[in-house]
């Protein structure tokens, strides 16, 4: 598996968790909603952390952008996504499905257009730079710990 394939697959796993979460809200299974919401948030933030603490610094160093290039924009979009999580938790706490779906729609599209840019461009460049260290990096990503 390449770095690009691993990270893209990780995107898809997060998408499926959000779809499951929406499914449970649609069916008003609020107990399951809480659990899935935590799981989705954890996996998404873990993915962001993998990039911000591991992949992006490596890429910035090697590509001499000093963190001012594409990774800066990606981090800003991560922050935009992070700002939606507390609102989603609020909507779940109030069992307000209309507000939840408005917010989940925003998050879904934000993440999708963000992922598209990463998969189309950034991961391709990361793959090209670190192709020789591919297996080591994928192993590190697979065993990545996030608290």
């Amino acid at each position: 598996m390449t770095i690009k394939e691993y990270m893209t697959h990780n995107h898809k796993e997060c998408d499926e968790l959000l779809a499951q979460l929406e499914n449970e809200v649609e069916n008003a299974n609020w107990d399951k909603v809480l659990k899935l919401s935590d799981e989705f948030k954890h996996e998404t933030l873990k993915h962001f952390d993998m990039e911000e603490s591991y992949l992006f610094p490596m890429f910035d160093e090697k590509s001499s952008t000093g963190g001012c290039g594409p990774t800066k924009v990606m981090k800003m979009e991560h922050d935009q996504a992070r700002s939606i999580f507390p609102k989603i938790e609020e909507a779940i706490k109030d069992k307000d499905s209309d507000r939840f779906f408005g917010l989940s729609e925003s998050l879904m599209i934000l993440i999708q257009q963000h992922n598209s840019k990463e998969e189309q461009m950034l991961y391709t460049m990361i793959q090209n730079i670190f192709n020789n260290d591919n297996d080591t990096i994928v192993e590190k990503l697979q065993s990545y710990e996030f608290k």
Binding site: E16, E22, T65, Q80, F101, E105, L110, S116, M121
Partner: protein, 413 residues
């Protein structure tokens, strides 16, 4: 490592796609008033009034929304920015509007000077846009199926416009332009519209509705198969060959395969919620399937169902899909640009009221069936047009209200 041009913050300012969408919705309203005025006297698609009205919808509404969306979506989907996007977008908008207005005026008043002026400005707008976007997309390293499909669609836009202009310039000069007009229609509808929609669908359907990916056969082969059929079909139309019906049928069959695949993916999607946008996607793809079948029937059983096909294809498929895309793009863009400015009070669900979207959708659906009924009972046409006008006014209001929502919240910083 070559980093030039690599910035992922490449989307144009909010006002660029929004200006295109607002102007498009005004054309949609003009389209309703035009058919209200001329509906009774039109009996053939080659009537001057018919050509003018068709182009209010295709150039005025469809093209504005498609170009506005591409200025926004290309940097996101392909990862490459347009150079000086503001200047490009404004120039294309200006030339496209002058060209469209001259075109409509030329055909409604039968004045050749306006037709020639429209040729000039439409070439400037559309060929410039096609070439600029073509070379922007070529810069990407990852030539995936969407990229290849987009590049092919833009090539067809280029040739489709050139053929349209040839038809327009030679119109009424003794040179028969009917065959060129037929090739122009085939290339614009299948080479540009369907091709572009298929490329967008490969990305958007799995992303927004969490469906499985399109089958590799479609993603890797649909674009070149359609291209090949279109090239042969164009040559056969111009030379009045007996193979025309066969190649038209092939085109319809592959379009049907695409629409049925999309319906299958949407039906098995993982996101459960049925909102207005998914209803419009379903409606569009069901209509594309019917349009393909009706077309095959009209080719082999000599029945005159041109108007039925144009309603099913034009309103049922193309208009519905564009309407659905607008309801996905406009609320997101508005929210995204506000939250990028740290205005976190904005919520996407407040940008366009859900009730108004549903109302507009429901009125549109009723008007669509009234249009179909009008093929049997002529008087229904006026009910259909009035309902479509109401639906278009609500759509226009919804788009403008998104813009005013943005302005209102933007003032708070």
């Amino acid at each position: 490592m070559k980093m030039q041009g690599l910035s992922l913050d490449q989307a144009p300012p909010y006002k660029i796609p929004m200006i295109y969408y607002i102007i498009a919705s005004f054309y949609l309203i003009s389209f309703c008033f035009s058919i209200l005025s001329y509906a009774n006297g039109i009996e053939s698609r080659y009537y001057y009034e018919s050509i003018a009205i068709t182009h209010i919808l295709t150039l005025g509404f469809f093209t504005h929304v498609m170009i506005g969306s591409l200025f926004q979506m290309i940097p996101v989907i392909i990862g490459i920015a347009y150079k000086k996007v503001n200047i490009q977008a404004i120039l294309v908008l200006l030339f496209l509007n002058i060209g469209t207005i001259c075109f409509i005026t030329g055909f409604l008043t039968s004045k050749k000077i306006f037709m020639h002026l429209s040729s000039l400005f439409l070439i400037l707008a559309l060929v410039f846009f096609a070439v600029s976007t073509f070379f922007t997309i070529l810069k990407t390293e990852d030539k995936n199926p969407t990229v290849k499909t987009f590049i092919t669609a833009l090539s067809f836009l280029f040739f489709g416009v050139i053929l349209g202009i040839i038809t327009l310039i030679n119109h009424g000069s003794g040179f028969t332009s009917k065959n060129f007009a037929d090739v122009h229609i085939s290339i614009i509808f299948f080479g540009w519209l369907i091709m572009l929609i298929s490329g967008v669908s490969y990305k958007v359907v799995p992303m927004f509705y969490v469906t499985k990916e399109y089958p590799l056969f479609i993603k890797n082969h649909f674009y070149w198969i359609i291209s090949l059929i279109l090239i042969f079909l164009s040559l056969f139309i111009i030379t009045d060959s007996k193979f025309v019906p066969l190649f038209k049928t092939l085109l319809a069959v592959f379009t049907l395969i695409f629409s049925l695949t999309t319906l299958h993916l949407l039906k098995n999607r993982k996101r459960p919620r049925r909102d207005t946008t998914i209803n419009l996607w379903y409606f569009a793809m069901i209509n594309l399937s019917f349009a393909s079948v009706f077309w095959i029937i009209s080719i082999w059983i000599k029945v005159e169902i041109d108007f039925l096909i144009s309603i099913v294809f034009g309103l049922g498929f193309a208009y519905s899909l564009i309407n659905g895309m607008l309801y996905k793009i406009v609320p997101f863009l508005t929210w995204f640009h506000l939250s990028s400015k740290m205005i976190f009070d904005a919520e996407m669900s407040q940008v366009i009221q859900n009730n108004y979207m549903k109302l507009q959708y429901n009125i549109f659906i009723v008007s669509y069936f009234m249009f179909l009924l009008s093929l049997l009972f002529k008087s229904f046409i006026y009910v259909a047009i009035v309902l479509f006008l109401i639906s278009s006014l609500i759509l226009c209001y919804n788009i403008i209200s998104a813009y005013t929502y943005y302005k209102r919240l933007n003032k708070t910083i």
